[in-house]
Each structure stands twice: as C-alpha cells, then as structure tokens.
C-alpha cells in the first residue's frame, strides 16, 4: 500500500493546495524566494536594457537595430574613446576613485584601530559620530563642504583637490565600519600574544594586526573605489566645471540634452569597473580568510558571512 493512496487527495481544494505549497514548512520558503526573485528581476532588467543599447548599431536608445561596438570605440566622433568629454570624464572618475582609495583607506584603517582599542571617556560618542557621514544626506555634505572651501579653507579651490577631499570625507566611514567589524571579530588576543612574545606595539601592528586585517583593508578599498565612481552629488558640488566633471555628471548632463548610446556605453564601463572591484574584494577576502574558515571561524564580509 503506497503512502499516496492513504492521503485523502480528493478532499483538498485547489486553493488549499496552493496555500499548502506556499506554506509547506518542510520545503523552501517559497513565498520569500518569490519575493526575492521578483526584486532581482525588477532591479536588473533596466540595467540590462541600458547595457544592451550601448551596443546598438544606430543612434537610437529605444529601438534595437543590431549589435555594434561603435559607441565604445568605432564612431570617430561620438564614441567613448573619441569623444573628449566622455574620455575626460572617465579619467576624472578613475582619478578621484584612485586618490580616494589611496587617502581614505589608510586613514580609515588607523581610525578603526584607534576607535576599536580606545576605551574610556569620549570613545562612545566618537564611535557613534563615525556613522554620521553614512546617514547624513549627501546633498547636505556637498553644500557644507562647498561652504567650507569657499569661506573657511579658501586656499582649497573647487576642482579635483576639493572633490578628492569630499570623497575622502564620506569614504572614511565605510573603511572604519568594515575594518572595525573585523577588529572586533579577531579580538585582542593576537596583539597580546605578539606583545607577550616580545613585539613592541609597532611591530605587533605591522607583523600581526595588519596581516590579519588585510581582507578587511582590501574589501574596504574596493568599496571606497566603487562608491567614489558612483558618486554624483559631492562630485557635482565641488566640481569646477569642464575638466573636473565626472562620468555621472556627464551622463546626467547628456540625458538632459540629446543622449546617444555612448552615454549607455560609458555607464556600462563604469558599472563593470564597480562590479570588478567588488568581485576582486570578495575574492581577496575569501582567499585571505580561507585558513580561518577551515578552522570554522565565521568571517564577515561587510556584514555577510562568507
């Protein structure tokens, strides 16, 4: 006698069956899976369409007329490669991103170590204030930075330097949050062990703490690079126009005028760079924490267990 024969199948209505399928406590959480996939499709389709039209053979951004690379390099005037505005914007974005990584990462790492190891009066407010740039509306930060540069630190003129300072200002918080999380998960024991074995605080930092922080440092550098490439508001407020316009600014300007598929092309390039930097960070994190994962120590990648 089979099990199925015992079930009173005939007495279950379609409605109950659907509900049962959705609520089956032993199966996958189907409703949540459905919501997740709906969101993924919803968020990724516009991006895919934009990417598709960057390869369009004609000037249309709405009617597909065949595959071509003309908007990347083929078109002698309007391609990303040949249009000086676009090329310059790409270079400016990369310049800001690179400088941001080089300045914000070391400062952020030192701040994170300081804040994680500093106990006593003032450490709690300081830890809390570190989150401020993450929650302050960017437009507010842009306006206030511009005020600071035009009225207080007047020796700093708008343009590349001001933009870098602006990016660094809000990027540091991301570095601090990521590195501090790693610091808390590795604890103080390795530094104490190093001191116990005769390492001065400086040697303990360079020989033990920094190697252990490497995954977090690489990850935060990649995140800083990605958010710097993405940034529009701060770059715009602190731009001195023309040569210091970044890719998002140029795209914004172009879409208000007469957009060409080359806008899609440069957006695609930026997106690929962002994704590559994040993928690189993720792989680096995996590689550096492989030993720890083997020892079944849970490691966190910006809040995600990997």
């Amino acid at each position: 006698m089979s099990v199925a024969a015992e079930r009173p199948a005939a007495s279950i209505s379609t409605g109950e069956r659907v509900r049962g399928w959705l609520r089956n406590p032993w199966g996958r959480p189907r409703f949540l899976v459905l919501v997740t996939w709906t969101y993924v499709v919803w968020s990724i389709v516009p991006v895919l369409i934009a990417v598709q039209f960057s390869f369009n053979a004609t000037r249309s951004r709405t009617v597909w007329q065949g595959f071509s690379g003309r908007w990347y390099w083929g078109d002698p005037v309007d391609s990303v490669w040949h249009d000086p505005t676009l090329r310059h914007a790409a270079l400016q974005s990369l310049k800001l991103g690179g400088a941001d990584v080089l300045v914000a990462t070391p400062i952020g790492v030192l701040l994170a170590i300081g804040l994680a190891r500093w106990r006593g009066w003032g450490s709690r407010p300081a830890n809390f204030l570190m989150l401020f740039p993450l929650v302050t509306p960017e437009i507010v930060m842009g306006v206030s930075l511009l005020l600071v540069f035009t009225h207080v630190f007047t020796f700093i003129h708008t343009g590349t330097i001001a933009q870098i300072l602006g990016h660094v200002t809000f990027s540091i918080s991301y570095v601090v949050v990521i590195v501090r999380g790693r610091l808390f998960s590795i604890g103080r024991q390795y530094e104490e062990a190093a001191a116990d074995l005769g390492a001065s605080p400086t040697v303990a930092l360079t020989r033990v703490l920094l190697p252990l922080l490497t995954p977090a440092i690489v990850a935060s550098a990649a995140v800083v690079f990605a958010i710097s490439l993405d940034d529009f508001v701060i770059s715009q407020w602190l731009s001195s126009g023309g040569g210091t316009d970044t890719v998002p600014i140029v795209i914004y300007g172009a879409t208000r005028a007469a957009p060409l598929p080359s806008t899609n092309a440069i957006a695609t390039i930026m997106m690929v760079l962002t994704l590559l930097s994040l993928a690189l960070a993720f792989l680096a994190w995996r590689a550096f924490t492989r030993e720890e994962r083997r020892a079944s120590v849970a490691t966190e990648f910006g809040g995600f267990t990997v």
Binding site: Q189, Y190, E192, A193, A194, A195, D196, L197, G198, A199, S200, P201, V203, A204, R207, V208, P211, L212, E291, E292, R294, A295
Partner: protein, 361 residues
C-alpha cells in the same frame, strides 16, 4: 632549557590590586612562588585568577601593589619587555603564519641569527612532539596539537616563568587527562616556574606543587594539593574543592585532643581544624570519611539518619543521608556495600573525630 635554572623565575606579589570601572577584580593579594614551582591559581570564574595572570604577563596595569620577578619590580614594565611568556586559553596562534613561523616569532623579535632560530625552533617542536609539522598552518592542526604549538612558542624563548591560562579548557576530557600528565612532565623537564590558572580542581590537584585557592579577588588558602584538600582553611575552600558536608555547629569546649561541638541535639567530638574556636562555627567532613553503620550502632560520633537517595558514580556510590539533626550529608560507599543501604533504610552515620574539621567563622 634544563634544570640548571632551578632558582630562576621567582614571583612575588605584594598587595596586588586591580580595579576595573565598577569591580575590584584583584583585591590586594600576596603570593610568593619560588623558582621552578608548578603553582596553580584555582577558583571559580570571576575570582580574579585570570586578572592576576594578566597582571603578571603585563596585559593589565595594577591599580596598586608590586609584582617582583626574581626580585625586580616589573609591575610597570610593558609586556614585550618581561621575561615571562603566556599560553593562552584559546592558544592565539597567528593564523597567517605556519607552525615554524609561529614558534620562531619571539626569536625573530629578539633578532637571533637564522641558524640559531632554526635550531631552537626544532628543539622546541621536538620537546612537544611536533617535529615534522613545521609547514602546517594552525588551522590544519587538532586542538591538542595547537595547544602544543602554543607551548613550544612560549617555551622556545626560555622564559623565567610560563603563564598558562586554562590551556586545557578547550579540549575534551580524555585528551585533557593525557595532557595534564604531559604538562607536568614537561615542567619537570624544563624546570621553570609554571603559573597555571584553572577553575578545574582536579587539574590543579593533579599537577600542582602548590595551589592558591581564590575567591572574589582574595586568596583563600595557599598550600600543597594535600593541604588544601584535606585541611581546608575556610568554608569556601572546603566547599569549592571536592564534595564537602558543611554543617553549622556550636563549639562548647575542649574535649581530649579536640573540642566538643553541638550539632542540633547531638554532641560530637572534632579533632581537626580550629578546635580552639568557641561559639558558632562550621564543621566539614568529606563524603569518603563518612562511615555508614547499621542503625543504633554504639560509640562516639554516631548520628542516626535515613538513606534518602543513592546515586551511581561509576567507581562508587554516593548516598545522600538525611540526619536526625535535620542536616543532609553525603557518603561515598564502595560498590556492593551500597545494596545494604536502599532508599529509606535507617542507618547510623559515623563521623570519625579525626575527619571532622572545625572552621571558624
């Protein structure tokens, strides 16, 4: 390494005190540990034993007091300049370094020549029976092997004192037993002072030359394992070490070589401990010293009672006896004899005078 440094590694703690924001972790303790001794700090969690160890290692600064290492005050010397090394509870092996580099870490900080480092690391790994594991990462080692690497990493520097913070705590019972014996043998071989922190009384009793029993930041008693077990000085020590029957009594006066104590309506003779105390006191007797006899058996120090419960302990049976005085005591009885004492059996509990220890309040 060797026994030639027999007198090196003397530790003296003088009125050592450590306060944290809201608690006093170490409340003015005095200890004197001669060089080459296996000395344990034993106590429940929160008694200040780990803080004491961390003060000696230099991870914490004392609020007041002195830490003398071979006569010199090191209380304010930073940890990397103290001639003591620590085996951490969770070993704290550097995960980014292999076994060789972990063990060589201290020698490299001391800027020893390459050949010497290789030679000493080799010998240290040999000592802990891990030769051939040099290229392994710590994540590829078992708990017991990691523990040995931690030992080698500390011992390779030939410290005056080795500090061990519950080093066997993370291991399973069988491995722990094996390593207890190994650790003790190792300590005798290298001949340096081991300061061992544990909450496991059996561990402390098995390995130590002397034990300091700690409670709430104080040292309750210092002595050999036999002394602290057989002759507990305070109620806390009697209660913490092993199973004890503690009872409230009134001490009436002298009685032969001991004193007369009143336990409810029963008068007993006690011949051990603070027999010159008078008035309110406590007596303690170990379950293995309680003898059960048939109800109504004659002689001094017999208290009538009834068997309340029998618990199988493996090697013996533990009997819980409810005494006529209202107290409940435990008795250890060999297998076989316990069948005589089923639940509800009336018995006479013989509490030998020599085994009754008086503890002054």
């Amino acid at each position: 390494m060797g026994t030639e440094n027999g007198n090196r590694g003397q530790i003296e703690l003088i009125e050592l005190r450590k306060e944290f924001a809201e608690v006093v972790a170490v409340d003015g303790i005095d200890l004197d540990v001669p060089g080459g001794e296996f000395f344990s700090l034993l106590g429940p969690s929160g008694c200040g034993k780990t803080t004491t160890l961390r003060l000696i290692a230099g991870f914490e600064q004392p609020t007041s007091g002195r830490i003398l290492l071979d006569g010199g005050d090191v209380a304010y010397t930073p940890p990397h300049k103290r001639n003591v090394n620590t085996v951490f509870q969770n070993y704290a092996l550097f995960p980014h370094l292999n076994v060789f580099d972990n063990v060589a870490f201290g020698l490299r900080r001391a800027k020893r020549p390459k050949a010497e480092i290789a030679e000493r690391v080799g010998r240290a790994l040999e000592l802990v029976q891990l030769s051939g594991y040099e290229r392994r990462k710590s994540s590829q080692l078992s708990g017991g092997q990691q523990q040995r690497v931690a030992l080698a990493r500390a011992l390779v520097l030939n410290p005056a004192v080795l500090l061990l913070d519950e080093p066997l705590g993370a291991l399973d019972a069988k491995l722990r037993k094996a390593l207890q014996i190994e650790l003790k043998a190792l300590q005798q071989e290298v001949g340096i002072t081991f300061l061992y922190v544990t909450h496991d009384q059996e561990e402390a009793l098995t390995m130590s030359d002397r034990i300091a029993v700690m409670s709430e930041g104080h040292v309750e008693q210092v002595g050999t394992p036999e002394t602290v077990y057989e002759e507990p000085a305070t109620v806390f020590v009697a209660d913490f070490l092993g199973t004890s029957n503690l009872m409230d009594v009134t001490v009436d006066g002298a009685d032969g070589d001991g004193c007369r104590v009143r336990l409810g309506d029963v008068v007993l003779r006690a011949a051990s401990g603070a027999t010159d105390a008078r008035g309110e006191a406590k007596i303690v007797i170990r379950p293995e010293h309680v003898e059960l006899e048939s109800y109504g058996a004659p002689g001094e120090n017999r208290v009538p009672g009834m068997v309340e419960r029998t618990v199988y302990l493996g090697s013996a049976d533990q009997l819980v006896v409810h005494l006529a005085t209202g107290d409940t005591i435990q008795a250890l009885v060999r297998h076989g004899r316990s069948t005589l004492y089923e639940q509800g059996t009336p018995v006479a509990a013989h509490l030998p005078a020599d085994a009754i220890r008086v503890l002054a309040r």
